[in-house]
Amino acid sequence: MSLELRGITKTFGSLTANDSINLRVETGQIHAILGENGAGKSTLMNIVYGLLKADSGEILVDEKFIDISEPSDALNAGIGMVHQHFMLIPVFTVAENIVLGHEKIKKLGVLDISTARDAIKKVSRDFGFEVDPDAIVETLPVGIQQKVEIIRALIYDAKVLILDEPTAVLTPQETDELLKTMQELKRKGTSIIFITHKLREVRAVADQITIIRRGKVVSAVLPTTSEGELASMMVGRAVDLAPVKHKHVIGNAILVAKDLTVRDALGTAVVKAVNFHVNAGEVLAIAGVQGNGQSELARALVNLEDHIEGSINLDGKEIKGSSIYDSLHAGIAFIPESRELDGLVSSFSIAENLILDLHDQAPYAKGLNLSANIVLSEAEKRVAEFDIRLQSVNDAVSTLSGGNKQKVVIARELSRPIKVLVASQPTRGLDVGSIEFVHERILAERDQGRGVILFSTELDEVMALADRIAVMYRGEILEIVDSGVTREELGLLMAGVVNKKASA
């Protein structure tokens, strides 16, 4: 089935989210839509799926005009969508989730689950999925949950499948598996619209790439285009994908973690007696699939976790057991994993967020008094230095884009004297331009002789920035390897396979 969009335009107030977009997806084609956050990809897909109504423009399925004003119209036309945030009920089984909204009943009003169960088995067989129809959804890994969404679309006869940022939540292994699934679907004749901002994946599977910038189609290219070219088309200027890492002398160990164990509230060790150190002027990346204890380890380094055993030595001083305040002011800059939940107070102004951990220090505070003037003037300086795009530092930080929010966090953390930077997933959810900025700042800290501990699940990021790489698996550090390691070797380590040859 082919899908064609002609002149789709959608405005929200003064903002033109989609500006006469033309797009054609052929039968059995994987069509990637590439664009930064806020470029208008999701708006476009929500129009196709009937969640939004276009101001003007036409949608054609198999050369015939169709009218889509709500999701059921899209489903009837054979268009299915897998949302970035899954639309599944966690406590229901796979089969129950799939019949949801399409429930059929047998005699006496009994819900007919067995038909769905058979259909799931059939689709699983056809496409090589391994999904148990009776498994409770919340017990399944994220990758499998996503397959449940795909199966649901296929069972209801989707011939065009929209995948909205499907790899954002997946591990590298799960990502590879999804890409294989996509190719399998394509071979069976399903058309796929693949929305993403990850260049490597696009080049791996797409047949055709459409790049959207600020609501407009800026180019339609083939996957043979290089990553650098794709990135600069997305951002609208030349982008440095591989930041320049200057060679320089690496100093002595500045932070040493010894036999560090972190337990959760139930007493289970989520980080198990790990040992590592970071030297001044070095980036130590802690890689690993999400959920292997990295988040807890990162938080433990500033004593944010409640149950920590072992030792954390910062420049000769034991900081384990200190308060969070003392850990930060002993010289650790901390970029938390979730800027929304842990990094920022969204209803506070940008200026206030810039002093969240500095508000009772000079020059902001004199005794009890907080000097509003100095807070504002210092905020203006940070905004200029870190190129934070805003209207006024008095606006709520929630008015900023994701990239600018992260800049606020980084500007705050780097504006006090530090010895070590602990950055937890610092580029998660950011667009290419912002990622480039964050990478430059991390390397700048390294070049100025600070130790950087970078927690990241993104292999590309780890390989581009790290001097040494520690791989975490099930709460342990399996190996610490040098940056010459290959993608494949890292991938294996992240899956828990210890490869002796990879050790440094």
Binding site: S347, L356, D360, N369, L370, A372
Partner: protein, 390 residues
């Protein structure tokens, strides 16, 4: 200036419309509950005029009881006509203080239902120092008021420490502490220390002359220095929240405790110190009530000042100035309601209906916007505590 005015207009638009609707509905209730009005049901014109007259009389009495009453002018003393306004302010004074207590807690993300209990402890402390010691003028007031505030700060602080240490929910804790306080005062009033000589009913001796707050408009009015204490407290809360590092911590924890914690702000410190300051504010309310108008501690000293405080703080959007205005309004309704009851026979309880309606409409802004077809305002940040999961 124009900008500031339009901002102010925006800020009071919703409360203003809520008042309007609350008074309209109250008027309907007054009209249909008046037998004289209902008797004219057969003739529509008479029905409407008598309904309007009934409601008009009731609201006139409400005004006469709360602001100005020409009938009170005696012996050419025009000022005597303002006796109702003095009553409004006297009723509002403790409400301002308890309202601030609840409002400040809201800013730190806490729901302080405990102003009632804190008020009681403030009253007990102030009363004890007030009648039991002989101190010079000025110092006696200070000592009595401070003792009340400290008693209540400890009472509130217990909740803060329990929540900070164990994570127990402050709503449950403060409700339970209210019960304890309510029965504690019954017991205290029966002890030898507090029993007034020659009396067997639970009432404490009156506080000494030196401990009484000075009257501001002579002995003909109950208006006393307490209102200045309340206004100073409002100024203090405003200063604390907007100008100090402690207020910054309070607001940060109130808006996002997790981010505040990550930035090194001690959440247990904020919870404990907030509850202590809130306790002190409500306790000061109790002290002012004893030292300014009641003079003697009795079982009903707290009335419903601690509970109305929640409504007042909500109505004032947890802002110090807003809380002052909301408390004055409630004071006026209470004072006016009494006159309305005696002059027109409309029961005092109708005032509670009005208060409830105002809050109901304020709590459901979407409904008011729907009725008056107002677009959503940009800065109508919802006022919420952390609810049951905090």
């Amino acid at each position: 200036m124009r900008n500031a005015l339009s901002k102010f207009g925006q800020a009071i638009k919703l409360p203003g419309l809520s008042f309007f609707m609350a008074f309209t509905i109250t008027g309907l209730i007054i009209a249909v509950s008046d037998a004289k009005v209902l008797a004219k049901f057969s003739s529509p014109l008479d029905f409407i005029t008598s309904a309007l007259a009934s409601v008009g009389n009731a609201y006139l009495a409400l005004f006469q009881g709360s602001v100005f009453d020409v009938n009170l002018i005696k012996d050419g003393s025009f000022i005597q006509g303002f006796y109702p306004l003095s009553e409004t302010i006297v009723t509002a004074t403790p409400l301002i203080l308890t309202g601030l207590s609840v409002a400040l807690a809201f800013k730190s993300g806490l729901f302080n239902i405990g102003a009632q209990g804190q008020f009681i402890f403030g009253a007990i402390g102030a009363s004890y120092v007030g009648f039991n010691f002989d101190l010079p003028i000025g110092i006696h007031i200070l000592a009595a008021a401070l003792t009340g505030a400290i008693f209540a700060a400890i009472w509130g602080g217990i909740v803060g420490i329990l929540k900070a240490r164990t994570g127990a929910h402050e709503v449950i804790l403060t409700i339970m502490m209210n019960y304890i306080a309510a029965y504690f005062i019954l017991w205290v009033l029966k002890t030898q220390t507090f029993l007034r000589p020659g009396r067997i009913d639970p009432i404490a001796p009156e506080v000494n002359e030196n401990a009484r707050l000075p009257l501001l408009a002579g002995s003909g009015f109950r208006l006393n220095f307490g209102i200045f204490i309340a206004l100073a407290a409002a100024l203090f809360v405003w200063w604390l929240l907007t100008k100090t590092t402690i207020g910054f911590k309070f607001r940060a924890v109130g808006a996002n405790a997790q981010a505040a914690k990550t930035a090194g702000i001690s959440v247990p410190f904020v919870i404990t110190s907030t509850m202590m300051i809130c306790g002190a504010l409500a306790g000061l309310g109790g002290a002012v009530q004893v030292l300014g108008s009641e003079y003697a501690l009795n079982t009903d000293i707290a009335g419903s000042f601690g509970f109305d405080a929640i409504t007042v703080a909500l109505l004032g959007r947890a802002q110090p100035l807003g809380t002052v205005f909301a408390a004055l309004l409630f004071g006026a309704l209470q004072a006016g309601g009494r006159t309305m009851q005696s002059n027109t026979g409309v029961p005092l309880d109708i005032v509670q209906v009005t208060q409830a309606l105002i809050v109901l409409f304020i709590a459901a802004p979407a409904f008011v916007r729907y009725i008056f077809k107002i677009k959503k305002m940009k800065s109508s940040a919802a006022l919420t505590s952390k609810g049951w999961n905090g």
